[in-house]
């Protein structure tokens, strides 16, 4: 029996994401969803792509969702959400409802790409949130265009002739921003106040909005389940993941959300995860990654 009262004067908000789901212990995505829903509130509808989040939270009749929720297929969260936006608008029920599309990086960067572009171009009032754990986790850790250079996955494993993922991470949020939409932002679960502010901003602006949320995965990244939140901050503090936001379409208006006073060397991030373990005896590859990150951060002025 848990006592249900708070010493703080915060308004006690009903939990919109129930316990009992089958996410791994320490799952970054599950925590991300809790944070996003807490910021959005109960006047929310979610269209969810196939993936860990969908599968682990809706094994019928068990559902963790305490907001209206629909899952149709893998590549079309944005298209399903477009239909919901259309129906709500036409039936004059749109006012005040936060309409989200949730997807993993698979359902966003790769198979979900077309539907997202279409939704953004049509300027539908949808807030697309990608919970990015940098691989197709639900099917067992296969590479995605979101997988960072040098990471080992089951379809780009490290080996005697392979450094793991060969390609740089697709700049998804920048591609989205180029569409010219209401609001594009990157965020991560470990900087919760920043994430909350960005979710609330998206809800104010209605859409189209896009939130790229980095969500570490203990199972796929091979780190201790306790480190999920800390690792998401380390990604930002090393410059591996940059927190920024943009309202409107003028790329010159991109605002950096967090500039680390002194960027930590990327090796601290890499050595904390089993998916980069094969790089530990490869100082050449470590230097390559550091250089890539230095260039990436230079573009943002740090």
């Amino acid at each position: 029996m848990v006592e249900d009262s708070s010493g703080k004067d915060e308004v006690e908000q009903k939990e919109l994401f129930a316990s009992g789901h089958r996410g791994c212990a320490g799952c970054g995505e599950m925590n991300g969803v809790r944070q996003v829903l807490a910021a959005a509130g109960p006047n929310t509808i979610v269209a969810n792509a196939t993936g860990c989040l969908e599968v682990a939270t809706t094994s019928w009749p068990e559902t963790s969702w305490e907001v209206p929720w629909i899952h149709a297929a893998f590549e079309n969260a944005a298209a399903v959400a477009s239909g919901i936006d259309a129906a709500l608008t036409q039936m004059k029920k749109r006012q005040g409802i936060n309409l989200f599309a949730f997807a993993g990086d698979g359902g966003t960067f790769d198979i979900g790409f077309q539907a997202i572009s279409g939704m953004l171009e049509r300027q539908q009032k949808v807030i697309f949130v990608v919970y990015d754990n940098e691989a197709y986790m639900n099917t067992g850790i296969q590479r995605c265009s979101s997988t960072p250079y040098g990471a080992s996955t089951t379809t780009c494993p490290s080996g005697t002739c392979s450094v793991g993922e060969q390609h740089a991470k697709k700049p998804m949020a920048m591609i989205v921003a180029a569409h010219g939409i209401k609001y594009t932002a990157t965020a991560t679960i470990g900087y919760h106040a920043d994430l909350k502010r960005k979710v609330k901003r998206a809800c104010e602006l209605e859409g189209p909005c896009f939130l790229h949320v980095l969500a570490p995965c203990p199972t796929g990244w091979r780190h201790d389940s306790a480190d999920t939140i800390a690792l998401s901050r380390l990604a930002v503090d090393t410059g591996m993941f940059i927190l920024w936001e943009l309202e409107g379409h003028n790329l010159k208006d991109i605002k950096l959300s967090r500039k680390p006073k002194e960027r930590k060397p990327v090796i601290e991030y890499l050595k904390a995860q089993g998916r980069f373990r094969h790089l530990m005896n490869r100082p050449d590859e470590q230097a390559k990654i550091q250089k890539q990150i230095d260039e990436q951060c230079a573009q943002f002025g740090f």
């Binding site: 129930a18 316990s19 320490g26 305490e66 306790a226 939140i229 800390a230």
Partner: protein
């Protein structure tokens, strides 16, 4: 077993609560009430909605806590200890 609904729509929000994931854990978080500053970071960061705001301190919901250890790691007051689950 539950009777199926039309289109297998799950009409009871939060029905996952019947699945007590507390049985998963090998470690359990223990709160030192005297040190807890009620910052509620552990409540924010729990992936399982398994840390609740109590009158004196945060309170783990042991029915669902999977023992991931995020709360203990993130607590700025270092008042959460992960102890081995009793047999």
């Amino acid at each position: 077993m539950t009777k199926i609904t039309l289109g297998l729509v799950a009409r009871t929000p939060g029905a996952s609560k019947r699945n007590k994931t507390g049985g998963w854990r090998t470690l359990r978080p223990v709160i030192d009430e005297t040190k807890c500053k009620k910052c509620w970071l552990c409540v924010i960061y729990c992936p399982d909605s398994a840390m609740k705001k109590g009158k004196k301190s945060s309170m783990p919901d042991y029915d669902y806590c999977k023992g991931c250890g995020i709360c203990a790691k993130e607590c700025p007051s270092k008042c959460i200890t992960m102890v081995e689950e009793a047999r």
